[in-house]
Structure formats: C-alpha cells, structure tokens
C-alpha cells in the first residue's frame, strides 16, 4: 500500500505539490491526469525517493520513503518506474539492459538474471531483440524494454510517468497495450498520462491534479461522466 499524507514539494520558491493526500491499495490501477505543471510527474519521483519532499510523508508498505533511516536503494527495488524518455543504457544490449540491475542489485547469477530477462522481454514482445543495442530500436520498443527492465526487479508497484508522451503516435498503442496487460495481471500501478481513453479503460480510480492540488479523485465512470471540479470540467472539455 502506498500512503501519501499531506505531501508538499517545492522547487525553489515554486510550490509544485501543495499538500497531497492519497492512498493506493495493492492491486489498484490509479491514473493521474492534469495539465503540464500540475505536479503529477513530481509526485511519482517523490514516491520512490528520487526527489526529496518539503513536508508530509509517503509510506510504502509501512516504510517511510523520506525517513533518514530508510535504505532507498532497497526500497526502490519494489517500486519500478518508467519515464517519459526511455533512458535506455546505450552501451548495453537489450538483454544486458534488463539483466544489469538483477545482477548488480539482487546479486543474481548471469544465468538466473537472463532467464528472468528473457521472460520479461518476451512478455513485452521483445523476445527477438535480445542482442540488439537499444539505439537500433524504435521509441516504442525502447519504452517496452524500459518496462521489462523495471519488471525484472519483480517490483510490487509500477509507476509510469507519461510513458507515451515522447512517442510517435503510431507507437503509442503498443506501449499502452503493454500497460493494459500489466493492469489485467493485477500489478499495482500509478500512471501519469495524457491518454484519456486509456485512463477511462484501465483505471480503478482517476485523480485530477491542478496546480499542485489533487482537485478530484473518483472511479473513471464518475470522474469522466460527471466531473464536479470546475477546472476538471474545463480540462476535459479541452482534451475531448
């Protein structure tokens, strides 16, 4: 379970998260929508401790993320994150990209890590790209590799930060299909996205962020069908 309590975050004098309260249960798929600068991506990087916070607390499976005593490297093993940019390791093949962390962080043998990597890569449809360097692949393939790389650590939670925003429109579908598949398998996910159709289809709940505040959160039918927040009404009118 991810518990977010009154989280505040500023970059300099700019407050990007103004007291967020949110709980994500095991197995839940939460999508976060909102305009640019609404703080939705920042929240994700705070959840796995890549960004410090200025107030409140985030607790993942009983462990407070930003407590001094928390071993972030250990905690991050159970929180996978995939970014907007694919962030492939360009000097490693697809297989090596995926086996690196299981070998270095979890101490797996090469054979063990490769077995898991091949399984995850096949799962996202890249079983035939093992020896290829990422720069030789399309954006969609690189993004699916990044998803497999995160999954190879067997995380309990997956965070997706606008994973289709940097993709050619033709390639968005293949990545969203991968996310749908994960959702159907029961993975706990928080997806920051601009894909409204996707949010409507896969989410258990949808949260709308506006200027650092979570303005509304509800199951998709309710949020899209009868939005209460005036800003959300404007946002939906603009994106439909």
């Amino acid at each position: 379970m991810i518990e977010i309590e009154n989280v505040r975050k500023s970059f300099g004098s700019l407050e990007v998260l103004k007291g967020i309260d949110l709980t994500v249960d095991k197995g839940e798929v939460l999508t976060v929508i909102g305009g640019s600068g609404s703080g939705k991506s920042t929240l994700l990087t705070c959840i796995n401790g890549l960004e410090p916070i200025n107030g409140g607390r985030i607790v993942v499976d009983g462990i407070e993320v930003h407590a001094k005593s928390t071993n972030l490297n250990k905690l991050r093993q159970k929180i996978g994150i995939v970014f907007q940019q694919f962030n492939a390791f360009p000097h490693l093949t697809v297989l090596e990209n995926v086996t690196l962390a299981p070998r270095k962080v979890l101490g797996m043998s090469k054979a063990q890590a490769e077995e898991i990597a091949v399984r995850q890569l096949s799962h996202v449809g890249l079983g035939d790209k093992l020896g290829v360097y990422p720069t030789r692949m399309s954006g969609g393939q690189q993004q699916r590799m990044a998803i497999a790389r995160a999954l190879a650590m067997s995380p309990s939670y997956m965070l997706f930060d606008e994973v289709t925003s940097a993709l050619d429109p033709m390639l968005v579908g293949e990545v969203l299909d991968t996310l749908r598949m994960l959702a159907s398998e029961g993975m706990t996910m928080i997806c920051v996205t601009h894909e409204m159709k996707f949010a409507r289809e896969v989410s258990d709940r949808v949260a709308f962020f506006h200027k650092g505040v979570m303005a509304e959160i509800a199951p998709p039918a309710e949020l899209f069908g009868a939005p209460k927040d005036p800003e959300l009404q404007k946002f939906l009118a603009a994106t439909h």
Partner: protein, 217 residues
C-alpha cells in the same frame, strides 16, 4: 645521406633512450590517469565550491610550464626537503601530476556528458551511487573522453622530452648526446622523430580501433 658515422651501438643507445621515454610515459600516464579519475570524480561530485582548493592546485599544474615544474620540484625535494630521489622518480612524479591535472578535466567533462535521466533510471532500479558510477557513468563517459585522453597521453609522451632537466636521459637527450659527438643533427633528429612516431602510432591506432568498436551502440 648514407655517409654517416652512426654505428649500431649508437642506435642501441637511442633505443635505450626510447625505452626510458616509454617507461616514463607509461608510469606517468597510468598513475596520472588513476589520479585524474579520482580528482575528476571529486570535482564533479562535491561541486565547484568545495572543489575550489583542488581545482586551484590542478590549475597550477596545468598552467605552469612543465620545464619549470621539473626544475622547481627537483630543487624543492632535494634542497628543501633533503630527500634523496632519483631524477627518474622526480620526473615520473611531476609528469604524473601534470597528467592528472589534465585528465581530471577530461573525466569531469565525460561524466557531465552522461545524461542525468539515464543515471536516474539506474538509481530507480535500486542501484547504488557506486554501481551507477561503475556500470553506467564510467562506460559512457569513457566513450566521450577517449579522444581527449589519447591526445593527452600522446602529449605527455612528447612532453616527457623535458625530463632531461632532472638528469634523465630519454630519447631526445640521447639524440642530443649523439648530435654533439657526430655533428649530424638533421639525420639524427630524423631517426629520433621516427622513434617517437613508432611509439605514438600504436596508441593513436588503438584510439581509432576503440572508437570504431563503440559506434555500434
């Protein structure tokens, strides 16, 4: 042109000088690169303020002519500290610091060229700072830094000609000794140049080879 007084023994004498040049270069470039990596990582990691003293020292080694560094270091170690050190040791020490000073900048530039997002991705997988440095940053930074580093190594090899001021008879000094005796400066300098070329060529080619090998990714 072939009417020369140069004997096989003289050629051997030059080859020995070349050996000293290679040895001084190998030691200085190896140690200087290791130190340069340490200094470069420190400079990148602690930020410009905390690194200021280190940056200053490295700047001194980069800006004062090597000849002056060698003479002053020799005098300081021998006369002031009263250390009994061979000229060879002093030469290697000064050239090591000289290499380290340049290498630190190359390393820092290489690290800065690694995209922050790539490093965040590594850390988000639970990798420690150290694992990120060794598995991601160093391989990627090396690709960026290699051409400059090859240039530095070749430069140090040629600059090592100056260590004659601390009584180390390397290739150029050996050549000068022969010139004084045989009075055939142009011919001897040509041979000396050929020796330098033979030493540099493999290193330059190694750089080209590695660059080609790394372009697949």
């Amino acid at each position: 042109m072939f009417d020369t007084a140069l004997t096989a023994a003289d050629l051997l004498f030059l080859a020995k000088g070349a050996g000293v040049t290679i040895l001084v270069t190998l030691i200085s470039v190896a140690l200087g690169t290791l130190l340069g990596i340490v200094f470069g990582v420190i400079r990148y990691q602690v930020g410009p303020w905390w690194a200021a003293p280190l940056t200053f020292v490295l700047d001194v080694f980069r800006s004062v002519p090597l000849l002056i560094q060698l003479v002053l270091a020799n005098a300081f170690l021998g006369v002031v500290l009263k250390l009994r050190m061979s000229g060879f040791t002093v030469a290697c020490g000064v050239l090591t610091m000289y290499t380290a000073a340049y290498c630190a900048e190359i390393v820092r530039g290489g690290i800065e060229a690694v995209p922050m997002n790539t490093r965040r991705a590594a850390r988000s997988l639970g990798m420690t700072w150290r694992q990120d440095m060794t598995s991601i940053v160093m391989p990627l930074a090396t690709r960026v830094a290699l051409p400059s580093w090859i240039g530095l190594a070749l430069g140090v090899m040629k600059d090592s000609a100056l260590v004659y001021v601390v009584q180390v008879t390397e290739l150029l000094k050996s050549t000068q000794i022969l010139i004084t005796r045989l009075q055939e400066p142009l011919f001897l300098l040509m041979i000396c140049g050929a020796f330098y070329f033979l030493i540099s060529f493999p290193l330059a080619r190694l750089g080209g080879y590695l660059e080609r090998r790394w372009t697949n990714d």
